[in-house]
């Protein structure tokens, strides 16, 4: 599996650290109720097919990436800087 970092280019999977489903972009507000925090921390859509993960380019530029990936084929369909996703809403 190779991931194309928008800053560094195509790199081996070894350079990246997986940080799970890209739910961190939708973090509940601190005063949200327990159900919202449970949904955020524990519950997952866990799709068989297209998913969005967070990967950290640990051995590269240190950027946080949102990777659109197929969990059945391991094919990577798109990579975006997490900072751009946040800025774009």
């Amino acid at each position: 599996m190779r991931i194309t970092c928008p800053i560094c280019g195509a790199r081996d999977r070894r350079e990246f650290y997986y940080m799970g489903a890209a739910v961190a972009l939708d973090r509940p507000v601190p005063e949200a109720d327990a159900a919202a925090w449970n949904a955020y921390i524990h519950e997952r859509d866990n799709p068989a097919g297209l998913t969005r993960d967070l990967w950290y380019h640990e051995a590269g530029c240190g950027a946080w990436l949102v990777v659109t990936r197929d969990t059945i084929s391991h094919e990577v369909h798109g990579v975006t800087l997490a900072s751009d996703m946040r800025a774009g809403g």
Binding site: M1, R14, G20, I41, H42, N46, P47, T51, R69
Partner: protein, 417 residues
């Protein structure tokens, strides 16, 4: 279908034409008292105990492929009861006892071999942790022995004891742990369940769960609608998809775990050996192949195959621990889809839908749990209250924070186990 030495001899002389299928390949009826979704080890065991211990009459096991084609057909076959925390401890203890009676119970040779499992440690802190774990195991009523380096050198002389990074300082041995023939476990439960009248329905994929007024009414399948007041979801890595059909999100992320087997060798490895620091464990199958594995690939996956970095990591760990295996040729590698929970412990519980139950979250330890999971899930489905040995496997422990079983002490979050 019964086996005997005489029968094997006779069939051998007659071209093996007399063997008959072990179970009925049933077609779905319109309604059952209970439906088990998933014809793997846990599902078949649940169906068996529902029929055997609770006298349930009309039970169907729905399997989208063939029986035993999922993780029960692709694991590394280790059976042990060496857990530390209350909840896990009594459950796996119960499971090991069921393993010890399984062949008699099912009248089926599952090749259960209690060859002992050795968990290695490498420094004083790990020795203390091993002693603590061993005491917890003995308090639970199971066996555990602390091995010195001298003991180990006698038992397993081929380890590299003085390696620079992880010198071996001893091990924790459970003699009752071991391995079993994984497919035979599925076949044994399938035959026994079928004999008790359970309908085992293959090539029958569930496509919808019918819920009305907060209660389950049945399921939609590729072979038509089937009604039932009780439905158990026992589908391991696919739990999230089936639960979603009932409008639920589970605290599960599916990951790939790889395993490897070498060409057949003469007997050389008498135990199951776990090298936790290297993320490596190994045993030798009765056919002679070295069966070994390591850790998850650590990204969500349904591919049932992994990537090269983890394969390399596992091989390197194996070579670090026992250089003698370096000349063995790897025959095959494969991957299984693991239903990972945030705290690394399983779930056997009711759901928010009446009559709908889940048995999932087995992470990478489902094989040894097969008999107790079946027993406890059947108990829950039949009596609507949890079995004593599985009452802590609650679905709501993540929401409430009460009763989390974080066996590795890494935190209750995804991607940490």
């Amino acid at each position: 279908m019964r086996f005997s030495g005489l029968r094997v001899l006779r069939e051998g002389l007659r071209g093996n034409r007399g063997w008959r299928p072990h179970w009925r390949d049933a077609s779905p009826r319109p309604a059952y008292d209970a439906i088990i979704i998933g014809g793997g080890g846990h599902g078949l065991a649940t169906a068996y105990y529902l029929a055997k211990k609770h006298g349930a009459q009309r039970i169907a096991v729905l399997e989208k492929g063939y029986l035993g084609g999922g993780n029960i057909g692709r694991n590394t076959t280790i059976v042990r009861a060496n857990y530390l925390l209350p909840g896990n401890s009594e459950f796996y203890s119960h499971s090991l006892k069921l393993w010890e009676g399984m062949e008699e119970e099912l009248n089926y040779n599952v090749m259960h071999s209690q060859r002992g499992q050795i968990v290695l440690f490498h420094d004083d802190g790990q020795r203390d942790a091993a002693i603590r774990r061993g005491n917890a195991m003995r308090n639970q009523g199971d066996d555990a022995e602390l091995l010195s380096v001298a003991d180990l050198r006698r038992m397993v002389p081929y380890l590299d004891y003085d390696q620079a990074r992880f010198p071996i300082r001893g091990g924790l041995l459970q003699r009752r742990a071991g391995t079993a023939r994984h497919d035979a476990v599925a076949w044994g439960y399938a035959r026994a369940a079928s004999d008790l009248g359970v309908d085992l329905i293959q090539n029958c994929e569930v496509t919808g769960v019918d819920v009305k007024d907060g209660a389950v009414r049945g399921v939609q399948t590729t072979r038509g609608a089937i009604a039932a007041p009780k439905v158990g979801i026992i589908v391991a890595g696919r739990s999230s998809q089936v639960a979603a059909m009932a409008g639920m999100r589970l605290p599960i992320e599916s990951h790939v775990l790889q395993a490897f087997v070498t060409e057949g060798l003469k007997p050389c490895l008498d135990h199951v050996i776990s090298f936790g620091m290297g993320h490596f464990y190994i045993s030798q199958s009765d056919k002679g192949g070295l069966v070994f594995g390591g850790d998850l690939d650590f990204y969500a996956s349904y591919a049932a195959r992994g990537n090269l970095p983890m394969a390399e990591h596992v091989m390197e760990a194996g070579m670090t621990l026992m250089p003698m295996i370096g000349k063995a040729k790897v025959l095959r590698s494969w991957g299984g889809i693991m239903d990972m929970t945030p705290d690394g412990s399983p779930i056997i519980d009711r759901t928010s839908v009446e009559g709908l139950y889940v048995d999932c979250g087995w992470c990478y330890g489902g094989f040894k749990a097969v008999p107790a999971s079946g027993d406890c899930m059947a108990h829950l489905m039949a009596l609507d209250r949890p079995h004593e040995a599985a009452k802590r496997f609650r679905l709501d422990r993540f929401r409430t924070g009460r009763g989390l079983m974080d066996e590795e002490g890494t935190g209750s979050q995804h991607n940490l186990h």
